[in-house]
């Protein structure tokens, strides 16, 4: 059974990827898949609504460029606001994860 990501998780991962380098949508999907070693089941298309949301919030900006296969492609780039948002999200995610982990951890006596 496939588990849904929690809201905002995909956006967080996209921002993290873009933090390293600007890239286009297709590359983003491949990167996330590769990095997560296919542990995460992501519907490839679901990336695009997430990107639109990020564009609207101005956490990323996009420019048209040319891909390695010589096709016209939109390349996304992290903005300063996006970097700040990412840092906030990551720290809150880490706290959440820590909390969950503690609850799930076998009891120490």
């Amino acid at each position: 059974m496939q588990r849904d990501l929690f809201p905002g998780a995909l956006e967080m991962m996209i921002l993290q990827m873009l933090k390293r380098q600007p890239m286009h949508g297709y590359a983003l999907v491949q990167q996330i898949k590769r990095t997560s070693q296919d542990l995460l089941q992501i519907e490839e298309g679901s990336l695009y609504p997430a990107l639109q949301r990020l564009l609207k919030e101005e956490f990323v900006k996009a420019e048209w460029g040319v891909s390695s296969t010589n096709r016209r492609v939109r390349i996304y780039q992290l903005t300063a606001a996006g970097a700040k948002h990412l840092a906030r999200e990551v720290s809150s995610f880490e706290r959440m994860l820590e909390g969950i982990t503690r609850v799930l951890a076998p009891e120490e006596s």
Partner: protein
């Protein structure tokens, strides 16, 4: 705003997204093909991996938050298509709304310009009229103007007040301007110091009249109105410093006022200083309007208290001559009733306009009810479509919104055409409005009217869309899909809303028609009144002033007599005469006390009540058609001989001596230093102040009287009875006749008595016309409403009627059934309407004359008319019902 920027570039954003998705898929396919997969499989695999392209595209678009907007535009397009699809329905609805909104926009623009907009003065909210009443001064004060101010009051108020920033007094008059082109009689306003300062409107050129211009017998100055400045001097600014001859005296022009400037409610040509001579003022001479500007923060109550405090100061500071007791004026019981200047300008027209506005609003309601009905019928026909949409998953909010968008669109489209009609309507209104309607020249359609029309359109759109929307959006999809099937006849439930609307329409129409009916009765009652003159359309009237160059009263009278002789010589003139004024002309009338010789007046009691004084020439009664009740008229020879003769009105004769004939031979006088004047004739009562007003008691003096307190007026209204009255050729001959006596004589107010009369009843006829129009519209809309509902009911009940006919019902039974239903609705509407009309017509009591607000005959006649019309509206649908062929009816659908 980035949201808005994105909105307008969203087409590009969407294209970008599509390009991007296409790129993604191509890239993926390339990769898979490179990995050895056949193209076809690779394409399928890429799509599978991507997910539902359409859905993702939708979700991506939603990220921008335009969903509702795009839905709305979808609704709009759908609505427009629905409206286009039924052009008949759309046209009728649009016309109904357009008429409703147009009529409302027109009346609102009048209400707005006249009642709501502040006056055209800087900080007009601080301006007040120094209105005062004097219950103890019958005759001196009248209901409309109250007790006007005397010059001495002005000085006291102006010097001792604590609540006014500035104040002044003004009064209207006429003057003769000579030496420009032909002699001209112009409207003047005499102003004291302080009037310009209070009104604060800066002059267009030059300056205001200043304190230095108010010196008696000092320099003679004048300020021009914009109209006069342009008419006579072409608006030339170099006019400052020039002189014009006003009443035989040169006056220097010091300024001209800008366009639209009026003294409170008075248009004028010239403003001249009143230049009171302080040394010669008495307490009385109450003839001036007071205007003041309140100090910041001062209230009307404080100002009233201030005036009350100053009245004793006034009585102590001035007198009416040696030996008189100034405190006799305490008997007048003068009470200040200061009111906002706007209230003074608007006068009693506010009530009239609100009645008209209310009437037109009711027409709008009826129009809305009609369109609602049409929409209900349409929604019924669309039930299946709505049910299908609901079955496909549309929420009821979505459906309601769709229907509302459609009806608001209808409302707005109707409203836009309505505003066009409104422009025409305003012109019509201004043309038929009483010419004494205040601020008539300020009436325009402005942005406020447009906002009002817009709001009205949207509101009515929501209003008539909401009922069908709520009614049909909530029906369950299943039952709706079923009941539209062929086996079911219409349920009672479905008709309730429409029946209710018809009942309310009939009720509202009844209210309007009753109001119109009462106005008609009023008008008829006014027509029956004998105003004190006959055949007004054959009576030519004009004002002629004898210029100052003719000084002695005898010569004035001889000049007037000579004019009459010349006028009588004109072809077609039957009779001619003159009087200080004709009834209903509205010039300021003279009032004073009358002492009868055979009555005892105690010294310390109040003076006898003031009576209206009029001067009439020999021949006047015959010319005007005023009847002599008893005694006889005077002749010119008696006038010149200064015979102490006088005439009185019938009601005065009855009051003083019991009967008209008893009055003949009695004597009266104005003051102790006047000889007794013998009453030689008694004249019928004349509606001097208007047809609806009580005829006042009048003393008629000859043109020449010795020792009168006020000398005979130099200005009189000449009246000529002729079949040719009002024609241009006649007027030319009249002018030539007047100028043959003296080429310097100006003529003014040239009109027939009919015009004077019409102006006097203008308020009534305006209300009548407005209510008549509204009533006719209501009746027409009501007929359409009943007819529409009945004929639709019949078409819906075809199956049932078919069954009845098959089972043996006669055509007449079916016809009666339909008629009965229609009559029931009409009767209910009439019942409700009579109840409502009882309440509403009470509000217009002040507009009625000679008929009670609850006149049973009018109510009964209107009710009968409505029922009759309703029957007629049902008759055609009923006839169609009986022509139903049972076989066809049962097979149809």
């Amino acid at each position: 705003m980035s949201w808005l920027r994105h909105l307008f570039s969203r087409r590009r954003l969407y294209d970008d997204l599509d390009d991007e998705i296409a790129f993604h898929l191509e890239e993926k396919i390339d990769e898979l093909v490179a990995g050895g997969m056949p193209l076809k499989e690779a394409t399928a695999a890429a799509r599978r991996g991507f997910g539902n392209v359409e859905l993702l595209r939708e979700t991506a678009r939603e990220a921008w938050g335009w969903r509702w907007l795009e839905d709305l535009s979808g609704d709009l397009r759908f609505g427009a298509r629905m409206l286009r699809k039924s052009p008949g329905f759309t046209a009728i609805s649009l016309l109904t709304i357009a008429i409703g909104v147009g009529a409302n926009a027109a009346v609102f623009s009048v209400v707005n310009s006249v009642l709501l907009q502040p006056l055209n003065y800087p900080k007009a909210e601080d301006l007040v009229a120094l209105h005062q009443v004097a219950p103890g001064a019958e005759g001196l004060a009248d209901i409309e103007d109250g007790l006007l101010l005397s010059p001495s009051m002005y000085f006291t108020y102006s010097e001792h007040n604590q609540t006014f920033e500035s104040l002044g007094v003004w009064g209207t008059a006429t003057a003769n301007v000579t030496g420009l082109a032909e002699p001209e009689q112009v409207r003047t306003v005499g102003v004291s110091d302080g009037v310009f300062e209070t009104l604060r409107v800066p002059p267009a050129v030059g300056r205001w009249l200043s304190e230095g211009d108010q010196v008696p017998n000092g320099p003679q100055r004048v300020v021009l109105s914009y109209g006069y400045w342009h008419r006579r001097f072409g608006g030339d600014p170099a006019v400052i410093g020039r002189s014009i001859i006003v009443d035989s005296r040169p006056r220097e022009i010091v300024g001209a006022m800008p366009q639209g400037f009026r003294f409170v409610d008075s248009d004028f040509d010239l403003a001249v200083p009143l230049a009171f001579d302080r040394g010669n003022l008495t307490l009385s001479g109450f003839g001036l309007h007071g205007v003041a500007r309140l100090k910041p923060g001062a209230t009307l109550a404080e100002a009233n208290a201030d005036i009350t405090r100053m009245l004793p100061i006034w009585m102590d500071s001035w007198s009416n001559g040696p030996g008189t007791n100034p405190h006799i004026f305490e008997k007048l019981r003068i009470t200040p009733m200061i009111r906002p200047l706007k209230r003074e300008v608007i006068g009693n027209v506010g009530e009239l306009l609100w009645v008209v506005m209310g009437t037109i609003a009711v027409v709008m309601l009826i129009a809305c009810a009609n369109v609602t009905n049409l929409l209900l019928v349409k929604a019924e026909a669309r039930q299946q479509e709505l049910a299908v949409r609901k079955a496909l998953g549309a929420g009821w909010i979505r459906i309601v919104r769709g229907l509302l968008v459609e009806s608001v669109m209808l409302g707005l489209m109707g409203g836009v055409s309505g505003v066009g009609l409104g422009y025409a309507g305003v012109r019509l209104l201004v043309a038929i409005a009483p010419s004494n309607l205040p601020r008539l020249n300020e009436i325009t359609i402005n942005s406020r009217t447009l906002e009002f029309s817009l709001a009205l359109s949207v509101l009515s759109g929501l209003c008539f869309g909401l009922i069908p929307a709520l009614k049909y959006a909530r029906t369950r999809a299943g039952s709706a899909l079923h009941s539209v099937g062929r086996t079911v006849s219409a349920s009672r439930e479905r008709h309730r809303a429409r029946n209710l609307l018809v009942v309310s329409q009939v009720a509202m129409a009844l209210v309007l028609l009753v109001s119109a009916g009462l106005m008609i009765r009023t008008f008829v009652a006014l027509q029956r009144i004998d105003p004190g003159f006959t055949d007004p359309q054959r009576l030519q009237t004009m004002r002629i002033s004898i210029t100052d160059s003719i000084a002695e009263p005898q010569r004035v009278a001889r000049t007037q007599n000579a004019i009459l002789e010349k006028l009588l010589a004109i072809r077609g003139v039957k009779s001619a005469g003159f009087a200080s004024e004709m009834p209903m002309e509205g010039f300021h009338l003279a009032w004073n006390s009358v002492f009868a010789q055979d009555k005892v007046y105690s010294e310390d009691s109040t003076a006898p009540p003031s009576r209206l004084y009029k001067d009439i020439s020999p021949g006047f009664l015959q010319a005007a058609g005023t009847r002599l009740i008893a005694g006889r008229e005077m002749s010119w020879s008696e006038v010149y001989a200064l015979r102490p003769f006088v005439m009185v009105s019938e009601n005065l004769a009855r009051e003083l001596w019991g009967t008209p004939s008893a009055a003949v031979g009695k004597r009266l006088r104005e003051s102790p230093n006047m000889t007794w004047h013998e009453v030689v004739g008694v004249i019928q009562d004349v509606r001097e102040k208007g047809v609806q007003e009580r005829a006042p008691e009048i003393v008629y003096w000859p043109p020449l009287v010795q020792n009168r307190y006020a000398p005979s007026a130099r200005t009189a209204t000449f009246v000529i009875r002729s079949e040719r009255a009002g024609t241009e050729s006649f007027l030319n001959e009249v002018r030539a006749a007047v100028w043959s006596v003296n080429p310097d004589l100006p003529l003014a107010s040239v009109r027939t008595m009919q015009e004077v009369y019409d102006k006097s009843v203008a308020r009534t006829s305006f209300t009548l016309v407005m209510l008549g129009i509204a009533g006719a519209m209501a009746l027409a809309l009501g007929i359409i409403g009943i007819y529409g509902v009945m004929s639709y009911t019949v078409s819906q009940r075809k199956r049932e009627i078919g069954i009845r006919l098959t089972l043996g019902a006669q055509g007449s039974d079916v016809r009666q059934m339909v008629l009965r239903q229609g009559t029931k609705l009409a009767l209910m509407g009439v019942a409700v309407g009579i109840g409502a009309a009882f309440g509403v017509t009470r509000l217009m009591t002040n507009l009625l004359y000679g008929v009670s607000a609850h006149n049973p005959l009018t109510f009964a006649a209107v009710a009968a008319l409505l029922i009759l019309v309703a029957l007629l509206a049902c008759y055609f649908p009923a006839r169609r019902a009986t022509s139903v062929d049972p076989v066809v009816a049962l097979r149809c659908e």
